[in-house]
Structure formats: structure tokens, C-alpha cells
């Protein structure tokens, strides 16, 4: 019994199980279809957030362009749905029936060749993952092989987000422009707008997300995960040990891209449209905030972060339509100032020691002063010899060590 408990605790499966119960049992029972559909939408951001945990928290690579991959996945799915919604019968009012409405508005008279494959659902599913991964691979391979990293890489991801937004908006005949692709109705004849469909899609999203978390957790616990951590903390040492550091980073970036793209595709299915407003810089940074609020070292925390931020957004904007942006700002500033390691960090530094003390209390040694375990590791002697640049690095390292074994 104790062995199972220890194993559960070590691999973080307990917290994943709690999340699973929350998503698959508690939410569906407690909410009506409308709210459940909203949660389903938030969960699609959860895919991006766990991707960022792997890329940023573990790989040490900050990407400010995850919206690109979310958008590409979403657009691939939207193209399939749009073609299905544009049969000649329902588009007979157009000058060229049978092509998507925005093409007709832009004087296209036939379907562009590169749209043709998206008539196939199989190809679409493949493209949802393959197109973003291909793009992620080419960007990251080119950058990391040249040892471009850190803030420079983050800036390049921002540039990619900007380029893609401009491209989508500029090529409106092929992409729907600012309006995006709207009025998506059915998936292979199945009406995705009904309540039953929305509920089913919610469960599909939740199940996929839990699967993705398990996959990522497995990677974290494998040798690969350890190497990612090692590379983040001391890249040169890993390189000198004979590993090809850049390829690990490429892998982490592609993994995050694939996860974001799956989130994007599920988003399109649940919300019924896709628009360039998910691709740009602002939504991409928002996605980083989800991971930061949840805790960038914790997969489960990142999902809670995405849920909390979006719940907050919906709740504040419904309740205080004039003030809600200020309240959101207060939430972000509050979380970042009070718990720099996010919600998961809060759990690690406060809840866990408290639980441990409760466990110890029945044993009789309740009088133990807690300061040893909970006090921040502030050096009592001023570091006169260390340079100012080294101090924050050491700090990050310590935080990572504390939380690296949590899910």
C-alpha cells in the first residue's frame, strides 16, 4: 500500500488523477452545457500551456509564438469544416457555388489547388499535427543549430507570429482575412452545434488533454526529461558530454507545437470558427501567462492556470463589464508577485509542507518549528564574491530543483 502511495506521489499520478476526476466527473455534473462548452474551450488552451511547460519549464526555451501553432492546427481543421459547409446546395446564392463564401467575395472562381486535400478528413487530421510540426522544425532547426537562444529566440517566435497574422489577413481570398473562417456546421455530417455534440466534444477534449499530460509526464520521467532539465541548467556541460543539445531543443519545440495544434483543432470544433486573432503576438503572450500562472514546471498546474485565467476572464467580464480588464491585470500582477512559481509553486511551498506537518502531528512531534522547511533560501551572508548575474541563475536553479519532480 505504502509502495503504491510512494510511486503515485513520485510520478505525480495522484495530481493527474485528481484533475481527471475534476474534468470528467465534477465539471460535467456541476455545469450546464453552455458553461461546460466554455470549459472545453479553456481546456484547448491547456494543450498550449502543457506544451509550454515542456518547452519553457523543462527545455528552458521561451516561445512567444505558440499562437502560430494553435492557429495552424485550428485553421487546418477549419478548412475541412468550411469545405463541408460550402456544398453547392447551401452556397447557391454565390457567383460560384461550391466554394467557401469568402473566396467568392474575393472573386476567386475555383477552389485553390492547395485546398483540395482538405476535402479528406484523414489528411486533415494528419495536417493538423504535421503542418505546425514541420514549421516548428524548420524554425527551430535553423535557429538552434546556429545556437540562437534565449531572448533572441523568443523575439524570432514573435516575428513569426506577426508574419503569419499579416499573411492570413493579407491573403483573404484564401484564408478569410480578418473575419477568419466562420459558420462551420458539421463534421462528416455530424452537427457540431448541438448540445449533445458540444458535450461529447468536451469529453473528447478532456480525454485528449489527460492523454497529453500522461505522455508529457512519461517524457519528463524518462532519460529525455532529465536531459532537457540538465540542458536548461547547464547547456555547455550537456554539450561537452557528447549530446547534440540543439536537437533536444528542436524536439521540445516540435512537441509543444504539436500539442498547441491539437488544442487549436479542438478549439475550432468546439467554438465553430477560427480567426487570425489567435495567431498574433497578444494571444501568444496570453498563452505564456496561462503557463506562468499555473506554474511552468507543472503540467497539471498549467492546466489549472489556463482554467483559472479564462474563468477569471469570463467571470469578471460578465460581472463587471466596465472594470474587468483592471481585475485581470490585478490577478496577473498578484500571482506573479506573490507566487513567482505559479499555482503549482504555491502548492509546493505552502500546501505540501502543511500536509507533511499534519501527517507528522499524530506522531507526536508537532512542535517542530516549520521555519527550516518553508523559509525561502535567502543567503544570510551577503554574496560579495558572486557577480550580480549569477545570483538570479542560482535562484532559478534552486526553484527548479524543488519542483522538478512534481507533475
Amino acid at each position: 500500500m505504502d509502495a503504491i502511495k510512494t510511486w503515485l506521489g513520485r510520478s505525480g499520478l495522484a495530481s493527474i488523477a485528481i484533475l481527471a476526476v475534476l474534468l470528467l466527473v465534477v465539471f460535467p455534473l456541476a455545469m450546464d452545457t453552455f458553461r461546460l462548452n466554455l470549459v472545453g474551450k479553456y481546456l484547448t488552451y491547456g494543450f498550449v500551456a502543457i506544451g509550454l511547460v515542456m518547452l519553457w519549464g523543462y527545455g528552458g526555451v521561451l516561445s512567444l509564438g505558440q499562437g502560430v501553432f494553435f492557429g495552424l492546427g485550428g485553421y487546418a481543421m477549419a478548412m475541412f469544416l468550411k469545405l463541408e459547409a460550402s456544398d453547392p446546395e447551401s452556397t447557391k446564392i454565390q457567383s460560384t457555388p461550391g466554394i467557401p463564401d469568402f473566396m467568392d467575395w474575393n472573386q476567386l472562381t475555383e477552389l485553390p489547388l492547395w485546398w483540395e486535400p482538405f476535402n479528406s478528413f484523414g489528411f486533415t487530421l494528419f495536417a493538423v499535427v504535421a503542418v505546425p510540426v514541420l514549421l516548428a522544425f524548420s524554425i527551430s532547426y535553423a535557429m538552434f543549430k546556429r545556437r540562437v537562444g534565449g531572448v533572441y529566440f523568443a523575439i524570432i517566435t514573435q516575428a513569426v507570429a506577426l508574419i503569419l497574422t499579416v499573411l492570413i489577413i493579407g491573403q483573404q481570398g484564401y484564408t478569410g482575412g480578418v473575419n477568419g473562417m466562420t459558420d462551420l456546421k458539421t463534421l462528416m455530417g455530424w452537427d457540431i452545434r448541438t448540445d449533445e455534440a458540444k458535450t461529447l466534444l468536451y469529453f473528447l477534449t478532456a480525454a485528449l488533454l489527460l492523454g497529453a499530460i500522461l505522455l508529457c509526464r512519461w517524457i519528463q520521467l524518462s532519460k529525455l526529461g532529465t536531459l532537457l532539465l540538465a540542458m536548461r541548467d547547464k547547456e555547455d556541460r550537456v554539450r561537452f558530454s557528447g549530446y547534440d543539445v540543439s536537437m533536444f531543443k528542436v524536439f521540445a519545440f516540435c512537441l509543444a507545437a504539436a500539442l498547441s495544434a491539437i488544442g487549436g483543432a479542438m478549439f475550432t470544433l468546439q467554438v465553430g470558427f477560427m480567426s487570425p486573432s489567435f495567431v498574433g503576438i497578444v494571444p501568444s503572450i496570453e498563452m505564456v501567462i496561462f503557463a506562468a500562472v499555473g506554474g511552468r514546471m507543472s503540467l497539471v498546474g498549467a492546466v489549472y492556470g489556463a482554467l483559472l485565467v479564462n474563468f477569471g476572464k469570463t467571470y469578471f467580464s460578465e460581472t463587471f463589464p466596465d472594470l474587468w480588464l483592471f481585475l485581470m491585470a490585478a490577478l496577473f500582477i498578484g500571482v506573479v508577485m506573490a507566487f513567482p512559481n505559479g499555482l503549482a509553486g504555491l502548492y509546493e511551498s505552502h500546501v505540501k509542507p502543511w500536509l507533511a506537518r499534519r501527517k507528522q502531528a499524530p506522531a507526536g512531534s508537532g512542535g517542530e518549528p516549520p521555519s527550516a522547511s518553508t523559509a525561502p533560501a535567502a543567503p544570510t551572508v551577503p554574496h560579495t564574491t558572486t557577480s550580480s548575474a549569477a545570483a538570479p541563475a542560482a535562484d532559478i536553479h534552486l526553484g527548479a530543483k524543488v519542483s522538478s519532480q512534481s507533475a
Partner: protein
Amino acid sequence: MSDKHLPSSSRRTFMLGAAALPLALAMSRMGHAAALPTAQVNTTGLAVTDTEVIVGQLHSATGTMAISETGSIQAEQLAIDQINAMGGILGRKIKVIKEDGASDWPTFAEKSRKLLVNDKVATVFGCWTSASRKAVLPIFEKENGLLYYPTFYEGLEQSKNVIYTGQEATQQILYGLDWAKKEKGAQKVFLVGSDYIWPRTSMKIARKHIENFQGGKVVGEEYYPLGNTNFNSLINKIKIAKPDCIFAAVVGGSNVAFYKQLKAAGITGAKQFLLTLSVTEDEMLGIGGENFEGFYSSMKYFQTLDNANNKAFVEAFKKAYGPKAVIGDVTQAAYLGPWLWKAAVEKAGSFDVDKVVAASPGIELPTAPEGYVKIHENHHLYSKARIAQGQADGTFKVVAESPELIVPDPFPKGYQ
């Protein structure tokens, strides 16, 4: 003291006075006006009680579009307050649930679902950009909601669930071009717009009209990304092409840069004829009267329109929102929404969406600030087109008005 028996000509003046009357008076009127039981006026489970009907308002109160949409929010609120002061609709006061679309199309979709599914609102007044309308349209059609949409837009759309109180493209463009040819002898026209669906569609219609119906010539057609602020290359092209008329549909923040740079390059209203589809009193605030002086704008409404309806409207608007408030074309169109809905509900004798929609074609509003309007079967309004010249103080001087109401035609034949 009931307003029911007043002749319709004096009804409007009464209505404006009623805003200042004590609330108690309005309350006392409600009792006998609520003749129709709720079970009869609401058979589809809308948020209607014996004393109240709940409607939604969905605009961007935050984000980049807030500056444009605030006028619409205020105008709709003003109309609703005035209707409530008159005793409401079918004896029921209008209560508004306000949601913020935050200039973000997915948020518009989320909030419209919330209003229709959760709050069961009887109607929604909202949206501004085409993108936000496109985002909510499938939801209104699926949930059978009703949307009053105020902005002039590109047309190519007609939905059972939307009443378009702004102009579709032909209502704004054709009269303007005809006037430009007749009064200004415009033969060579240069088309310029922001790069999205509304300017693209508008310019397509303009080009067909100029080339096929006017025998004129398009000497340039340029589009710039939304938010673009550098128009130097455009200005060079204009200088080379020497058009008789610049026909512009540049929107948002780009407008400010566009007119400032035109002026800096010496292209001013005194030397060059320019007609735009996208400058109202609201945009004028940002552009500055001195930069737009002498150029022309084609709209259906200007704040300076000289009629009794408009004078009363401007006075009430300024009383509610301060003497510096300006009223643009869309603000006025938004103001029509609640009044058109009231007329349709009263004609239908019901709040049910299907019945209100069925009653809507043919609804007339002689009290509209822009003058008389009427709902066409295609859910757009018959309205007049007007041309006005920008003045240095930021106001517009109306110089021409279409003699007849222009029939709305969202799918114009020969212009596709």
C-alpha cells in the same frame, strides 16, 4: 396623461420630455398598459415577465474598437431609456444585460451564446465590425436570436435573425459616385482602402459602377493593411495618376495618418476632390478638422442634419453624454435599433423572435433622426444617402441628399 392618444407628430416631443418626468408617472402608466399576459407575448421561454423584458447589448467596451463602439452603446442606451420613460414595450420595461465583446471576435461569439442561451434575452443590440458579426451570426441562427446591427457594411449577407440598421454597400457608394460625376466631373478615379472585406467589396462595386455605368476610368486601386500608418508611396502614386477623385475607404487609426500625410504632401480639400466612405464625426475627432477640411464624406446621417427629429435627438444625446459628445453615422443607426424593435414587437403583439421577424418588413420609423426609414423584406433599411463637406471645426456641412429613399440591395446584380 397617457401618451397613447397623442397624434404621432407630437409624440416625439412628448417622448423627449418624458425622460425628465418623475419615474412614478411612468410607473403608474404601466399598470393599465400591460394588457397582454406574459403567456401570450412570450411562448418561447424568453426572459420576459409581467413587468420586464430583458435585452442584450454586445459591443466592445474595451480594446481597439471601443473608441468606435462607445457611440453605439450610448445611443442604444439612450433609446432604451426613452422607451422606458414612455412606459416600455407592451407595458414592460426594458432591462439591459451589457456584455463586452472586447474587440475580440471569439469573445463576441462566447458572449452572444451567453446572452441567448443563458440569459434568454428577447433581442440583442450589438456588434460593429463585420468580423464580429460574422463570428456571432451562426450562433444567432442556431439559437434563433435576433440581432440589430448598426454599422454600414459590405452587404453580401442577409439573415433571418439580423436586422441591419446601417447601409449596405450600394446605398453608400452609387449615389456618391453619381454625385461626384455630376457635380465635380469626376472621370479619373483613384480607389484606396484598408485591406479587408468591406473596402474590397465596396471598391469592387465602385469600379463596376465607374467603368460600366459611368464611362469613367479607375486610375489606381490600392489597399493597405489595417493599422497601416505610412501612406507615402500611395501619395506618390496619386501625384502621378492625377485623379479627378480620390475614393477612399481607409478605416480606424490609419485614417489619422492618411489625412495628415495627404495634407503634408499638399493634397488638400482646396486642390483635390476626395470622397470617403469611412469618415464620420467620430473619426473626425481623431483626424482633426484642419486635416479633413474641404474633403467630402458619403453617409446617410450627419450630426448637422437640419430636421426636427435630429435636433431633438442631438439635444437628448448631448444632455445625456455631455456637450462635447459627437454623433456619427453608426451612432444614429444604433439609435434606430431599439425603436425598430419596439415597433415590430408592438405590431406582432409578441416578443417571440419568429413573430417579431415576421412583423419587421414594412416597419416604418418617421421619427428617425436621419428622417423616415423603413425595413425592407431583406432586413435592411430604405434610407437616403447624403454627401457632406468637412469643415475646419470638425463638423460636416451637408451639400447633397438623394431625392428618394434608396432601396437596399445586399446582393447587387451587375456588381458581382
